[in-house]
């Protein structure tokens, strides 16, 4: 019974546990609840991926209604991979969360915090699992609303403004997506994605469908913080509690990318999206702008959280670059990049959370000579930084390698050049961290500052280890990504 209902349970388990978590009065109990659920979600994600790898796309009719009358859960390789990313980050961040949350939040807020975390997890998973365009919107709302709350729980008063700015932008994005879905429904009479894909070609020369495409594209671009719609992202990451920065940086924008892939390739189809609407050209230029400005701005930041936030803007650019190529290799590179970047950024933000716990600040000038006091945390930042640059034997190298290869395959050598040149920009900002923490003498004594607790170090290093592992042996990941990309683009496997 459990296995046959796996697709539903993947979302229902965190959904049901959210209200239960609210009812648990003690902060410790709420944490234990969130921890258990996160690991259960990971187990289910692995089982689901296995099922998809063995049997192909899995479909699950909710309420046992046939599609397109009822809502369908539909998990292909791409969905299974993105679910795995979310689940890994969720499972790793929860053991880490206890100490960090205890320090950064008041006791009375902790129950609501874990409830919102579970709701956010539910929303993100629900977006990925569903095969229904309106259901996607509903779960998008769950994840957005809960992330606004999570961000606003930050200790700094500016967290409220950051959350409000995100709320306004996010609501515009969600409304645009809803308008687009509404127009698609008007022209086809269906909400099921597979059914939409079948019925849209008949009406895709109408102005209504073109406008629908434009609205969903812009709406999703806000959600995934594609340049120039990224302005909500830096403040949201900086002022949020550390655990929220980790979780959102590693998962939320990735789910946005997933929705973009789903819309371009599954719902509207490659031909309409890229040949008729030329969306590839548009997002390619935006992605290039994102890569360059994000990296450049990151260099000049003195707050490490802000530096990493702008770096995220650039990294999203790389991912979108792969998608913009619209080839099997390009999309596969995008998916690999998405997976690896979640691991890298998760690890880096985790290390920053450790510094936040001990130092209460992540300003560069406060970190001088930190290597002596927090060697493992600083080492994690350096390892993550190397992966971010794309040094061989790290996951970052694999993603950039595939991206450059895809660009060259498409004959776009200037694009390959931009990827390499912007990696040099990454070297500069990563070096600034290394210089400050390793080579500068500590200006003033920091008595009592010691290494982050084991409960926070272990999860950080677990992600770093995954990074290094993928850097050495990426065959499984690239194989799965190729399968996913081939299914999306409609090419035979190479």
């Amino acid at each position: 019974m459990l296995l046959s209902n796996l697709p539903a349970l993947q979302v229902v388990v965190p959904l049901v546990s959210a209200p239960i978590c609210l009812l648990l009065r003690r902060p410790g109990h709420a944490w234990a609840c969130a921890l258990t659920v996160s690991w259960a979600v990971l187990v289910m994600a692995v089982l689901l991926l296995r099922q998809v790898a063995l049997e192909g796309t899995v479909s699950y009719p909710l309420g046992a209604w046939a599609t397109p009358w009822g809502i369908e859960y539909r998990i292909d390789m791409l969905a299974a991979l993105v679910i795995l990313v979310i689940a890994i980050i969720g499972a790793v961040v929860m053991p880490y969360a206890r100490r960090s949350v205890m320090q950064e939040l008041d006791d009375e807020h902790i129950g609501a915090f874990y409830t919102c975390y579970l709701l956010c997890l539910t929303g993100l998973l629900g977006i990925v699992v569903t095969g229904d365009a309106f259901n996607l919107f509903v779960f998008l709302e769950i994840s957005s609303l809960s992330s606004y709350v999570l961000i606003s729980l930050g200790r700094d008063r500016r967290a409220l403004t950051a959350a409000f700015q995100y709320l306004v932008m996010g609501t515009i994005g969600a409304t645009f997506i809803l308008i687009g879905v509404g127009l698609m429904y008007m022209m086809t009479g269906t909400l099921n994605m597979a059914d939409l894909a079948q019925r849209l070609p008949a009406v895709d020369d109408t102005r209504t469908v073109r406008v629908a495409f434009a609205f969903v594209t812009v709406g999703v671009s806000i959600k995934l913080a594609l340049f120039p719609l990224h302005i909500w992202l830096p403040n949201a990451y900086i002022y949020a509690p550390s655990v929220v920065s980790i979780f959102l940086a590693a998962t939320a924008t990735k789910v946005g990318v997933y929705v973009l892939l789903r819309l371009f390739f599954t719902v509207f189809g490659v031909q309409f999206s890229f040949d008729d609407m030329h969306v590839g050209d548009i997002i390619m230029w935006l992605a290039i702008a994102a890569v360059l400005t994000g990296s450049l701005v990151a260099i000049f930041q003195d707050n490490l959280k802000r530096m990493l936030a702008y770096s995220s803007v650039a990294q999203i650019g790389y991912i979108v670059l792969g998608i913009a190529l619209a080839t099997g290799a390009g999309v596969s590179a995008g998916i690999i990049y998405l997976f690896n970047h979640a691991l890298i950024k998760g690890a880096l933000f985790m290390a920053l959370g450790g510094i936040m716990l001990r130092l209460g600040s992540v300003e560069l000038r406060d970190l001088h000579g930190l290597l002596r006091q927090m060697p493992w945390t600083v080492a994690a930042i350096i390892a993550g930084g190397l992966s971010l640059i794309g040094v061989p034997l790290t996951a970052g190298f694999i993603s950039k390698w595939y991206l450059v290869a895809a660009a060259l395959e498409g004959g776009l050598w200037p694009l390959a050049f931009i990827v390499l040149a912007s990696s040099l920009l990454t070297v500069i900002y990563v070096w600034r961290i290394v210089e400050a923490t390793c080579f500068r003498a500590a200006g003033d004594e920091r008595p009592g500052v010691r290494e982050a607790p084991l409960s926070m170090l272990l999860p950080t290093w677990l992600l770093i280890a995954l990074n290094l592992y993928i850097g050495v042996d990426a065959e499984v990941l690239t194989g799965l990504a190729d399968t996913a990309a081939a299914a999306l683009v409609g090419e035979a496997l190479p």
Binding site: N5, V138, Y148, L183, T208, V211
Partner: protein, 329 residues
């Protein structure tokens, strides 16, 4: 004739919209948004979408007006005049509007029976509902059964909003025995409110349990139910309302509604069906559907009512004046 009504209503909507943009008094704007919702509700009635009309009237014209008034009472009555005129927002809005108008050019004609929405899934909903679900209100059968999972998602959205308000504002009602400042002037209002209070709750229950047959359902019922308590709090003071329904209970109720809904879904799986499959809940599929719909609608009603009261109490308990603070007079 119907077109005339449509045009007049749409014209009024437009005038109200412009007035909202131009006005600086937030109190007036709040009342205008309420009027805007009322016109929309009327438009939905003309379109024969009575379920939507009921929702729009209860939420848009009713409860959100009260919440906005509470917000205005907490903040300020006049919008600040912006120091500079920014062209970017104007550009964005104009572009969006132009795109929307451009999109209308190839839409199916208004009321066209051959439009795709009337030809694909909708006819089957209408034809199959009597034998598959067995309830006369097709809207309820779609929302609660065919697309019941969306409704679970929506309830979760509302629950999330409630948790958000609990986390950010909290519902900390101090033990308050004092009454609204003009308590004694409000005799007529209080007597009428007292008369209406049980009737409103009764009507909410009617909307809830009659949702299978007529317009309504858990969502509208929850709003109406909460309105009763809001009216009571407005006329009798927060302290008394708090004694009727303790704030600590509200969080539990909000969670309980979502749990009831999901429990129905899980029960479907335990009985060997899919998640949210009601057919397996009873001996024959149609009674199973009836039972399932009744239970999930109740869950929706509980969560919606509790969350609205959480938001309302969360807002008004932040001001020493209490409930009378948002009295528009």
């Amino acid at each position: 004739m119907q077109h005339l009504v449509d045009i007049v209503l749409l014209g009024l909507l437009m005038i109200t919209g412009f007035a909202i943009v131009r006005m600086r008094s937030l109190l007036a704007v709040t009342m205008l948004t309420s009027i805007y919702s009322l016109f929309s509700a009327l438009l939905f009635v003309v379109l024969d979408a009575v379920d939507v009309a009921l929702t729009e009237a209860a939420i848009g014209a009713g409860i959100s007006t009260i919440l906005l008034l509470a917000t205005v009472a907490l903040t300020t009555e006049y919008e600040k005049v912006p120091s500079h005129r920014s062209l970017l927002p104007l550009l964005v809005v104009t572009l969006t509007g132009a795109a929307l108008i451009y999109g209308t050019l190839d839409m199916p004609h208004y009321g066209d029976p051959n439009a795709p929405v009337h030809r694909h899934v909708a006819p089957d909903y209408i034809e199959d509902t009597p034998e598959e679900i067995g309830v006369p209100n097709v809207v309820t059968s779609v929302l609660a059964s065919y697309r019941g999972y969306d409704t679970l998602g929506e309830v979760t959205v509302i629950f999330t909003a409630g948790v958000g308000v609990l986390a950010l504002l909290g519902v900390h009602l101090r033990k308050r025995t004092e009454q609204p400042s003009d308590y004694h002037k409000l005799v007529v209002l209080r007597v009428i409110a007292k008369l209406f209070f049980p009737l409103i709750l009764l009507f909410a229950l009617y909307v809830l349990f009659h949702g299978d047959y007529g317009p309504g359902g858990g969502f509208q019922a929850g709003v109406i139910f909460a309105t009763g308590f809001v009216l009571y709090a407005l006329t009798h003071g927060l302290g008394n309302a708090e004694r009727v329904i303790p704030p600590a209970l509200l969080g539990i109720l909000a969670a309980a509604g979502v749990l009831l809904y999901s429990a129905v879904g899980i029960e479907g799986m335990l009985l060997g069906g899919k998640f949210l499959e009601y057919n397996v809940l009873a001996d024959d599929p149609v009674s199973g559907q009836h039972l399932g719909i009744l239970l999930i609608e109740t869950g929706v009603g509980i969560t919606v009512a509790a969350v609205i009261l959480i938001i309302y109490f969360g807002f008004v308990s932040r001001r020493p004046g209490g409930a009378d603070a948002q009295d528009p007079s």
